[in-house]
Symmetry: C2
Subunit: 324 residues, 2 copies
């Protein structure tokens, strides 16, 4: 699992940051998922190691232009490059279908692959799986922005523990067909009459990873709930604490807000994104340097990174130490 | 007058060329006009010396995605940067209004400056001035593409000739208030009784410049008519002559077609744009190098350039030599 930030700016593109888009590369299924698709996301993809063909699902947090204006172009170009087998499903809040269908129809764009749109009610409090298979599931919850906006929670399922070969050898059981039977969950009776139960020889399950990817939001308890125990929380950080009043008035968060949410949620890691163009590397006022946002968050939540365009973060699976 | 190419690729963006957009900087009025606005045109503007605020008119040749997907984002970002006085008028073929209004409405985008859309019937054969003032006028004519598509002709008006001071001095008339009267078109009677007519002391008028900017098109007589005697013809050159059948089947032109149109139209200069991503600098087959397109056109029409992103071309006013 790897997060790849395609656009980390807020509102308008700048020479330093493009508008919102974030890719999540999954191991199983072997797909890339895209979260939001601001204008020129396809251009950012061209400069990345990601393949547009691998992107099979696109999840939209909300219908502000800087989060969706790249969607028609992305879908259209993908159609000229790939083949009919490279299906895409777009999941987005109510209105996404009309937005997309209009953009494609008015421009005579014919998408030449299987293409589905799944609209959801972004205000519902009922937990729905937008997608689920044997390995992974994704749900959403409403956040607090000027328009209906959600955060997504991607939950990997538990990975069954491996066979504890050391423990078996300690009992004098050498590798052989009996190992396979235990792996498949079958009781094994040894020549000396002892019966081995599979559960006694399996290492602990590896917990699935949890990734919370939030849309634009003012700080709120819904964000904390969604990010509960997340391995990674991706949170907007449009402004710094100095501009908190302005941030909240516009339904956005500061870096401090994001850190407090990560702390309250007991998240393991925080990545800040959706940075206002006010903060940039050549700012005259040191308070407007992006590092300001990072330091502000780290003073509350140490394991914080500030994303930049093409920043990527591997999310390791944490294998619990076996308890003998 | 200067042409500034923001995007010179066809269909999809590549690492070498963005999709279509072309700016024309005018002296009078002191405005920039934009022709087509593919996705990420606002990003290209960020890397150019052009100011989005100076762009007061946008002309759209046709409603294919690679020519319009950047329009909602351009208008939206411009709204966050400028003030209410920086009006914009978008001129485009039937359907442009619905496309734009939908894109802006679904994304809750409020354009905070005067914003007008002028729709025209792209199939009409009746010459209409989309805009006209004392200095310049712009008309359009239908071309031949898969969907209704036009070319634009920008015609500068004649510039009245300067006063011929040499001729006056030769007659013994020294610079003074009488020069001003002649300039303003008033007859002057000298002390010796001679009467000077203004028309006799004016250098020839400077003809206005003509710039023809064509949308996508197969070669056609309409293109030749529109480009008649143009100072500059901007013509698509999606493919090379080797792929002529493919080009024409898809209602596009080859570099050779463009050169033949320039020649037949008696244009003074040809600039090729809208280049298929098939032609790029790292192509293995030399036939797929962009220079191939240029050479093909130059063998027919010598004064040809092949545009690239951020290529610009000054269009000089040609002052006729005075005939004494
Ligand atoms: Zn937003
Ligand atoms: Zn076209």
């Amino acid at each position: 699992m790897e997060l790849y930030f395609l656009g980390t700016g807020a509102g308008v593109p700048s020479t330093e940051r493009n508008v919102s888009a974030l890719a999540l590369r999954l191991d199983k299924p072997h797909e890339t998922w895209l979260f939001d698709c601001g204008e020129a996301t396809q251009h950012q993809l061209l400069k990345s190691p990601l393949s547009p063909m691998k992107i099979r699902r696109v999840f939209i947090t909300h219908l502000h232009g800087d989060h969706v204006f790249g969607l028609p172009g992305f879908l259209s170009s993908r159609s000229l490059q790939g083949d009919a087998n490279h299906r895409v499903t777009v999941y987005g809040p109510t209105g996404i279908e009309e937005f997309l269908r209009h953009a494609l129809r008015h421009t005579s764009t014919h998408v030449r692959y299987g293409f589905d749109i799944v609209e959801f009610d972004p205000t519902t409090l009922h937990t729905t799986h937008l997608y689920e298979d044997d390995h992974i599931a994704i749900t959403f919850a409403p956040l607090r922005h000027g328009i209906p906006t959600v955060g997504f929670l991607i939950r990997e399922k538990e990975h069954p523990g491996a066979l504890d070969a050391e423990k078996l050898r300690a009992l004098g059981v050498a590798p052989g067909p009996q190992y396979g039977e235990l792996k498949r969950g079958i009781d094994v009776t040894l020549e000396d009459g002892r019966t081995l139960k599979p559960d006694d020889f399996r290492k602990p399950n590896t917990p699935g990873r949890r990734v919370a990817i939030l849309g634009d939001t003012a700080p709120c308890k819904e964000a904390v709930a969604l990010a509960r125990d997340a391995d990674v929380l991706v949170h907007e950080s449009t402004f710094s604490a100095r501009d908190a009043a302005h941030a909240h008035q516009h339904h956005h968060s500061t870096a401090r807000d994001a850190a407090q949410t990560a702390l309250a949620a007991n998240a393991k890691r925080l990545i800040l994104t959706h940075i206002s163009p006010r903060y940039h590397e050549r700012a005259n006022d040191p308070a407007d340097l992006p590092i300001q946002l990072l330091q502000e968050a780290r003073s509350i939540f140490a394991n914080t990174d500030l994303a930049y365009d093409h920043f990527h973060a591997v999310i390791p699976r944490i294998v619990p130490s076996a308890s003998h």
